[in-house]
Symmetry: C2
Subunit: 380 residues, 2 copies
């Protein structure tokens, strides 16, 4: 194998795939990046067997020559070192040559690196996914959906299925749900698919989605998605991102979402967020993060928290709308802040069905987001 | 105690002093910020007994009214909470009122905070320093001197005196020296003082200097310095920064600095830094960070490192000047990089007196900096 390649193109592709290389590999090959060189271009692959990322650098992009291939071939190089060294090479050009026993020579300007590569035959094989059904979604929308739900997924490995985000597709509605049993976040969006294409109980690791999010560009360029039996594949430009699906059945969360409310509020999102943020600062001294919300007779809202050591914070907030019964409720302010921070409408709706029932938070300007927080049982 | 104060002024002063408040106080009062209110203004003080910082907010600055004092008084409030909450208060004005038993009320817009303050009588008393002799130095120069030496101080508490930076003043030359026994950094500068004013063996904690550096503005405004028996005081605008001096006698380092060299090199600072940075990436796999430097017959320099698992990096570098004997030497590349990163001249001088003797690195455009690195004894 022998080629000359542009440093910046090589570096970009390495940074993209390196996220899938295991940082503490059980066997060295899983901490590597596989490089496959053909006359068409260079394919880089990394895989920790849960996630695999592949990036392709074509020999030419428009007028720009990215690589000159002298001899096709393959090698696996250690990700940790390659990720750091390539971006620091002194020349815009990098020459890579692999000889017997995967002895690898990397040259750039006055730098000369000799490495022992690994056998690409030992590298994990990428999942083969039949692309019968492909649908697509704008990159920025996919990123929003990930950001607005993943934080609510569980981080505890005691219930592995809840560390994932549930995906459903039904009648063109693509829906994400995440819950850790204390709160829930859901987000849906219309996508263009074949009318009767549907799937349910597809669960993708929250951490994987956060990694995916870093690769997806923040614009409306389409990301293609293929959902298979136990894998999902994302195609972003020249990058393929494979993830294993989580095993198990995701709990049915539809029944815990109240359909009617006894108390309804419409509040300014930023003012509520700021007020709860201040109350949180006091509440976190008590570890439980308890903040109280109380409706007052004049239609304003009082938010308060207290710490036995520090004192008490009390906030007054005007409601843009207040319908229904008076209310006193207590909740985890950290969970509330997590939800408020991803609500992108100026005003938000909060619905209550009592001090012991789930709190529902929704943006006022579209029906595609819903957040649920279970209240605390408190005295007084 | 009762006053109204501008949030931004209060917040700035809190952020300045809070660095001295203990984050894990042995007694609660050491985790507090003391607030002293007089008709002249508001003085904030924090102290972990090693460092004390005091900031004064005058009632007026030029045309701007910073505070309206209704009733003078004092209170101590917990730094951790105050640091976070004040910057998040909703109004530009903050009202603070302290009643019996240090019950404190903080009001800003719709926010109302009740706190239990602590008794200012229990707060540590600031060191009293006689200001017989004051000298001053531009803020940006002081910051440079700190940045160019502190990194070489020891981080091991086994030899506490070496965790400090040695200060000497002699004939208007103000000198910093730091060493951890493996490398040494020194920096001197001329300052205006009384002709016969001098001090020696003044040792200030490296960590303290890093904290001081954050308060010193990055311009040529003068910082006043008062050195006393066991304390040093820095005056920066309205801020007073007190630090205890380290006990003990700093070792005499003057004898280990060679006065003559057998091999002398002048190299491009950036090119050498980049080459050693690449060699470092390979060397760090071996924990020892060993990088080798070798002069070649044609007057170029070869820098190399190897890892038994990964391979070898070899770098070629042109010397702008090469005088004296051929040389092969090995050193800790991390130490070398630390020194190179604070050398601000385009070219640098390196002097060697043999493979087992200290390496000396100096900028070429001024004689005020010197770095010393002890080589590794290696075979071959």
């Amino acid at each position: 194998m022998k080629l000359m390649i542009l440093k910046d193109e090589l570096n970009d592709a390495i940074q993209q795939v390196a996220k899938a290389a295991s940082s503490r590999p059980a066997i060295p090959i899983l901490g590597g990046i596989k490089m496959d060189v053909t006359h068409q271009g260079v394919t880089l692959t990394a895989s920790d067997t849960d996630i695999s990322i592949q990036s392709f650098i074509p020999v030419e992009t428009g007028d720009q020559v990215n690589a000159r291939i002298d001899k096709p071939g393959s090698v696996v190089l250690p990700a940790k070192f390659i990720v750091e060294i390539v971006k620091k090479l002194p020349s815009t050009q990098v020459e890579i040559e692999v000889s017997d026993h995967f002895q690898t020579m990397i040259r750039s300007g006055s730098t000369d690196i000799q490495m022992v590569g690994l056998d690409p035959e030992e590298f994990p094989v990428l999942p083969s996914i039949e692309e019968n059904e492909v649908f697509s979604i704008p990159g920025d929308l996919l990123k929003s959906m990930i950001r607005q739900t993943t934080f609510a997924a569980s981080t505890s490995e005691q219930t592995p299925i809840l560390t994932g985000v549930l995906w459903n597709l039904h009648e063109g509605q693509f829906k994400f749900v995440a819950t850790d049993r204390h709160r829930l976040a859901s987000r849906s969006a219309s996508v263009e698919t074949r009318a009767d294409y549907r799937f349910a109980n597809v669960v993708i690791s929250g951490r994987t989605l956060v990694e995916l999010s870093k690769i997806v560009p923040d614009n409306n360029k389409l990301v293609e998605i293929v959902v298979a039996d136990n894998q999902v594949l994302f195609k972003v430009d020249h990058v393929l991102f494979y993830s294993r699906l989580l095993d198990g059945t995701y709990p049915d969360t539809s029944k815990i979402i109240p359909q009617q409310y006894k108390t309804e509020l419409v509040l300014d999102t930023k003012k509520l967020t700021d007020a709860i943020d201040r109350a949180y600062l006091m509440s976190r001294e008590e570890k439980t993060n308890i903040v109280r919300l109380m409706t007052l007779d004049d239609g304003t809202i009082e938010i308060s928290s207290s710490s036995s050591e520090l004192g008490k914070v009390t906030e007054q907030l005007e409601a843009a709308r207040f319908d229904g019964e008076p209310l006193r409720i207590a909740f985890n302010s950290k969970y509330m802040l997590d939800a408020l921070k991803v609500i992108d409408s100026e005003q938000l709706f909060i619905g209550f069905t009592g001090a012991m029932s789930p709190i529902i938070i929704k943006p006022t300007d579209h029906p595609h987001s819903l957040h649920l927080i279970l209240p605390y049982r408190t005295t007084g």
